[in-house]
Symmetry: C2
Subunit: 367 residues, 2 copies
């Protein structure tokens, strides 16, 4: 795209990643207001958006800082001026730990989670006088990361607290696998069961003289339930800014966020009645979350099929009208985070005008 | 990565995209020699690699030029000095057609496929005196793109030939859906059936005084069969340079290519016996082709599971030994093209040394 905004959305080269700015702004404001009302610190997860501009807007609306999934993501957003970052995965290998120590000197406040005593020792050795905040990552049941027992949590907290290079902050408890449980009631009871386990750990830490000042976790599928359970004091939700098909299909909690992210595509072949081919395939959308849904430009009942790296097919439902060659079709992507990761920039739209572009600065920064 | 090659592969930040240079070079040479022997022009598909460096090496080995799936890809590789490009999807919307006309002025030889008369007219109007080569795209049965009958092929060829701005080259016949038919015999009989259809179209074009000078198509799963059938005179295979799990699992034809692309990852959590978590997830690997396979660093029988955006899990088979925290694990990705599209660079390795890095210049250039 060589054109400078503002320009008509119809002039975008497709596939294009679209942010509906008013809907996005309402989402940012709604979650900030909700967190304020509940006296929960909001630390949105930037792995959703990978954008310094969006992180700045979340912080301006009241977020205490942001989360990053990986060190590379944190480096990219720190380079854009973000000064308060929690890295939500353990940083383990030697070279990355050294990069982490350097990043810690550059930003105002950096924190990282740990789940192994060797990692605690390596962090401390690398950071030295720099001092970094550390949280004990708790395995919530999926066995992805985290310690797996109250005893291990206490032992790791003691190791952190005993080390002058490290500041013991508390715990991380992220129930990733429960975010997309379709029915609200089912999510609620699953989370209540996990909360009982968290309570045991928090008690054990208190008993050991190491109460968790920060209990961070939660997501777009669980934040209202987490607040109800009263255990978390810091919320990591990220996807609420955009919402995707997966989250849209979950029964809503207290707040209903608006769909603010979409993909503009065009029909590039239309030779077979009942189906057309669009210019968005495996390289334009996450493929782990099923099919995209039509938002505009084609029958909303159309089925989307991936047709290779660069193409998708829309199958018109019985009795519907096919889009024509060159028609613009807007899709709701199935899973926002890995979809955003495929693009270099967001086209920021108000109505049918592109009013800005924002770089996806931390795109591809998984290392 | 701030380090300058050469440096030990173990120092790479993970996940990292690895090219085994000797295996890659043998693949490039083997396909070039095979095509020379069969007197088939080799025009490798660059959507696999998206790299000017790799395109240059393919051309140096004897390829006539390259294929690109999208205009953006072609622009990126032209900017790296590639001068003979075929765009294998129709370029339809108005602004892209204008970009195509500008690209046509910059490179020595540009060709594009069409499948609709309106597209022919729009191309001709945009290109004007520039003259661009055009092929009729044939629908081989998947209804992705292409004309759907011999009559439509002849009619489109006539429209191209009648226009001074366009050079009629021939046809494209790419049987994408047949590339991964697991057994060689089954692929062979399916392709023979498609070849009979292609023969009908070629005859109809000849009868109309418009014989196809170029018949382009084929892929890594079909090239030997295509050659046997004697219909294609230009081969578009791309994945042979890397090979991925999907192609490795197809029964081989005349040539067996080597696996030359892998992903280095590290164990970042190891708290649960029987499983470890590595730093490669949905953002490190294509998810449309099933699971990655362990090549080194863990039991080769380990099962890989995606665990969200940034993590994967390796489940050790019964009786196997778990990798330890911080261990390096090398994976064979399931599907190479969309995996490459997630990275900004290749780490070019010989044995355990990174000897160069090559940018994935056309990464994300789907528009």
């Amino acid at each position: 795209m060589s054109t400078t905004p503002p320009f008509p959305r119809a002039h975008l080269a497709t596939p294009a990643l679209i942010v509906d700015l008013p809907a996005f702004e309402r989402n940012v404001a709604a979650m900030a207001a909700w967190a304020r009302g509940k006296r929960i610190a909001l630390r949105p997860h930037a792995k959703t958006h990978k954008s310094g501009e969006i992180a700045r807007r979340q912080i301006a609306a009241g977020a205490v800082g942001i989360c990053c999934a990986k060190l590379g993501e944190a480096e990219a957003l720190a380079a854009e001026g973000i000064e308060d970052i929690l890295i939500t995965s353990p940083v383990v290998p030697r070279q990355p730990v050294e990069r982490l120590a350097r990043l810690n000197e550059r930003v105002e406040r950096l924190a990282v989670v740990v789940d192994h005593p060797d990692n605690v020792d390596r962090l401390a050795a690398a950071v030295g006088d720099g001092r970094i905040d550390v949280l004990v990552d708790l395995d919530t049941g999926s066995h992805r990361t985290g310690v797996t027992s109250p005893e291990a949590a206490v032992s790791l907290a003691e190791r952190i607290a005993a080390n002058d290079a490290l500041g013991y902050l508390g715990v991380q408890f992220y129930c990733g696998s429960l975010q997309h449980v379709p029915r609200f009631d089912d999510r609620q009871s699953a989370l209540a069961e996990r909360a009982a386990y968290l309570r045991t750990i928090l008690q054990a830490l208190s008993d050991a003289g190491l109460p968790a000042r920060t209990v961070t976790g939660g997501g777009t599928g669980s934040f209202a339930i987490d607040a109800e359970l009263g255990l978390l004091n810091e919320l990591q939700a990220g996807s609420y800014i955009f919402m995707d098909r997966q989250y849209q299909e979950c029964e809503p909690a207290a707040l209903r966020f608006e769909q603010a992210l979409s993909i503009d595509t065009r029909v590039i072949s239309a030779n077979t009645p009942g189906r057309v081919t669009i210019d968005a395939g495996l390289k334009a959308m996450a493929t782990d979350g099923g099919a995209a849904r039509v938002l505009a430009g084609a029958d909303p009942g159309s089925a989307f099929l991936f047709m290779g790296d660069e193409h998708g097919m829309l199958v018109t439902p019985e009795g519907g009208a096919d889009p024509r060659l060159d028609d613009l079709v807007t899709l709701l992507p199935p899973h926002c985070d890995p979809t955003v990761n495929l693009y270099d920039q967001y086209a920021i739209c108000r109505d049918d005008l592109v009013i800005d572009t924002w770089p996806v600065s931390a795109r591809g920064r998984s290392a």
